[in-house]
Assembly symmetry: D2
């Protein structure tokens, strides 16, 4: 029973089926196929307006390509200290942008505030300093919280005031949409978001993400994102298999059904652990992640019983991160809660 | 009937089956899974010695990462003017290496010669000039020929004499192995090759290539390739699905069976066209590509009849590139040959 | 007696005097000083219109910064195979642009032609290939010839037709102005030039060049060149000493007087050698460089007599490059001619 | 009277004299001249051992080139939050290293501690994170303090334990040597320093710094620093004028005499202001910079009286940075102290 991450789960059967279904006959390579072409309309429907959509196979690629398209080499990208781009991508945004600088900022609940960003802007307009280029937030955040639309709008307003763009790392965007009870449009361009890494892998795909631009890159370089993707080695030859995943992901709301399932599992787990241990999660459980101080004895007992999860020091003894996914079952949740309760009783 | 490229074909059913079979239970992300771990032994068996093997999803990524690992920003990479890295990757090697320079060299039959490379080395040891770092050859070449082992060994010898490495872009490596009648080991490290982009996508995978190093990177930076891959956004989270493809590809010689099929189809096509048109291919057909001057009328008639292929100007009127794959049927080949014969008769 | 290059000469005394004269009192650092401020007007006068002018200490920096400002990482820069940026800057344009690619083209008399450039453009608009960004020519060329204004205008027209800019590496711009008998304006923006590396070091400065833009960079990034210069480490703190050199260089036409002197010395040398050896220079002597096949015996004799110059293989036996400068004296020229004549008589 | 920075002062007359003296005859370009060659011995004498020494024209270039030589693109460079490389070089180290990341750390008195650095190292050995490559300290620091040799040794020990190098940004190295009362050797390699940006411009040169390596770069790339310098456009053609400055700077201890003068002026200013205002500097005055809360009225009065200095918010009302140089006179110091005393009396 594996709560290490949502990406330890496999792909939803509908995704595998879609890949198999796409595996008939020949199709033009490098995105010039019907599946990829249909994505434009699919994402236009999803976001209630035309968008630029470009599929890639990893979230790191989506983030780095999206940010590089708007960030010159001398730019600064403001993000939360715990942001995936800051701590878990081996400097991919730095690489793709040609050496732009990430400015890591702390903030409660894994969130950036406009004031904190503006406080971190230094020497704007001064040739000796990196210049503001982008704010990047994670939605859902890395600690399982979800930005409200007014929080996003305030960040977008701050970004645009300083001629920056607002990027959203949506590796868990579906979980955020479900958690916020808002539409994809409301959580993005309607609140001022310029670019989104639309994650799908963690929520049931095999390997598929989409870069979604609401604001086009420089009019002088209309193909910039496509060129950057190819140059980065992220244009798949048999592109239909990437598009087919995304198409199935959006069909019949699979993406929302998966996310609802994962979020519900997280809530069930949070409620169960609080009841069993008398300990509330360290952060609001608004998506599919729980951060909780299990206590050392309980944490050890769970590990001994075969439950897999990551340590999360700093929130108390036996601090743990528990992540649920589209594939997490009630039985798994209840088994963990039960084991935790027994361990606590024994201690 | 589609002869545009081998990457217009889908994936071999055994590859889809392997993906579906891997889709059970959870698995550690980012390559720390059983499927990925097994690749080390699989590739050691294949190459008859331990190697570094690192799967990625695209050939461009494989080439750029392999080359960047051995090429400093001020390095030169010597390649054929028609090399994929030179004309079809939007500068990916330049990007990944931090701005190294490709030196494009002409050569008969799509091949580099040691003399041509050495003639192109300028100002070795001179701080004003880019310094030799790598020779990169395509095997099979971009025009369907195959380097012999002695040709490879001579290039390796030249490379090492100038402290360069020899890299092989093996997007069609299986076709070369079959075409050459040699083992994978004989065509690589036994002939002095330092690094190989081991292609699998064109020959039946969905999206899977392997970077194979026979010579380790700098001892001071043992993890360089792994770090570069992550930083480039090419480390897949659900890595098992990449490894499962490669595993199935090597199982029961699927890779060789597919390549034998494709190469045989190309030969059948070449023989048929020569008989039907009285025109020999412009280059020896040693792998799965044919370059032939069909004549304008025949080319037009084939297009009108629905046959898809790329124009290849410069080899005569109606110059065409015809590529076969693991999925090309004798019926398709014979249909094209028949249509060509009829078109010629009519003209 | 040293004919190796114009940069083996020291600085003109007026330049040293100007530096000493600027060395009084304090001045704001990093270009916010009176000397630097005055350059805007000086260069506006010189070019008969407002320009962006930015001093740096080396020609390589000027070229790389100017080109990077207009060339995205996936861009191509078309230049002559013998261009300084291609063979003598260790890949500086590649580095500054983030990995753009130089496309080296041959051409008679060290010059590019529009047809040759257009023939080298491949896959324009194709995401798999580097995209046209700039044409860069050297004026005077690396072999001592000078582009006529109509030749420049034709290249500019070709550049702009493909949405490229035309850059001039003017390391020997003064020699070209004198050689062409045209104004600085006529040789640049009036003929369609977008950016100029205005050289001064070779022609009498200590270390001073100016990047001159006639076309501004992207309106979205008005400070791009200034930021790139700082980021490249090319913004001098005691900037007044750079500006003072350029100011003195332009005062009382010192730059033209120096170039006239150097060009005249080259002509005197060419005429003298032709008379003494019966051999004409291999290229028209339009600036301050002579390329001539001295014959092996003469070349050896000159070397033995202490004359310094570079071998220039490929133009005949005893091929040599002889460069004159603002400091070359008639005595030095005549001594070389005399020695050559004697050596020929003796052989 | 200008206390804005030490780089608002001109060059020491001996430096101008040395340039003028070097301006005779021709000399091979690009560092192959006698002046440049002599630097090896000069710096060997200075540091009591052979070193690699490479002159450049700016401190930003020295820092960026030195750091890039030891920092791979995926490396981390640990520095103080106030470090020049972090706040005042527009990302030059990021650019030269190919996108390495600066990790900014706070610390009392402008200094890094080993514990703070080790606390900032995250995910060492983890492919998802930038990997430790260098610690960079400023000596003297940006707030006028000086690292003691035991502090340096402790940092070097921490650096080497994590396979990092220790770099010193010595823009004010002379002031530190004087302030610490130690030799150049004691403050560098004897304490474990691997690379030094040896500043000279701020302390009396026109534009001259030297990169000094005590630890060679990778044995596989012995010329790496030289190639990086050329590629960055920092190899001057008339290199003798750079070397002549450094030679004069070291002759007869000019560098130490200048620094002693500047440091003494700073102390005189500190003592005077403390006496006049009853306010001690915010930081120990160990080199040539004073940070002091003048009070708003005094600050305003000084500005009105024509004294130039930079605001330094955060240390109290009227916070100011006052910098002295080799050219600061006792009269200037006393005038400022007198004006401050009068302003205080009036308020």
């Amino acid at each position: 029973m594996d709560f290490r991450s949502d990406n330890v789960s496999g792909a939803h059967p509908a995704i595998i089926d879609a890949i198999a279904a796409a595996n008939h006959g020949t199709a033009a390579a490098y995105g010039d196929d019907d599946w990829t072409r249909r994505l434009a309309q699919r994402f236009a429907d999803l976001f209630e307006r035309p968008v630029t959509v470009m599929p890639v196979a990893t979230g790191t690629a989506a983030n780095a390509l999206a940010l590089a398209t708007f960030t010159p080499p001398w730019g600064s990208i403001f993000c939360h200290a715990g942001a995936h781009i800051n701590v878990a991508e081996c400097g991919a945004p730095d690489f793709y942008s040609g050496g732009a600088r990430l400015v890591a900022i702390d903030g409660a609940h894994g969130k950036l505030s406009p004031a904190a960003v503006e406080g971190a802007i230094q020497r704007e307009g001064d040739v000796h300093a990196n210049q503001p280029a982008a704010i990047s937030i994670s939605q859902a955040t890395e600690i399982g919280t979800v930005y409200r639309t007014d929080e996003i709008a305030a960040l977008a307003e701050a970004a645009h005031r300083h001629r920056m763009i607002l990027h959203v790392d949506g590796a868990r965007f579906a979980n955020a949409v479900v958690g916020a009870g808002k539409t994809a449009a409301e959580l993005t361009w309607k609140a001022g978001v310029d670019a989104l890494s639309f994650g799908a892998t963690k929520n049931g795909c095999l390997a598929a993400e989409a870069i979604v631009l609401f604001t086009p890159p420089s009019p002088e370089r209309p193909s910039e994102l496509a060129l950057r993707r190819k140059r980065g080695g992220h244009l798949l030859s048999k592109s239909r298999f990437l598009a087919a995943q995304l198409e199935a992901y959006l069909t019949d709301d699979l993406w929302l059904r998966n996310a609802r399932h994962a979020n519900a599992a997280a809530r069930r787990l949070a409620v169960g652990l609080e009841r069993a241990l008398g300990v509330a999660p360290a952060e609001p459980v608004e998506a599919n992640e729980i951060f909780i101080a299990l206590g050392g004895a309980v944490a050890n007992a769970l590990r001994a019983a075969g439950f897999l999860f990551h340590d999360w020091p700093g929130i108390g003894e036996g601090g743990a991160r528990l992540v649920t996914s589209w594939a997490t079952t009630d039985e798994e949740v209840d088994a963990l809660v039960g084991a935790a309760g027994r361990a606590r009783g024994a201690s």
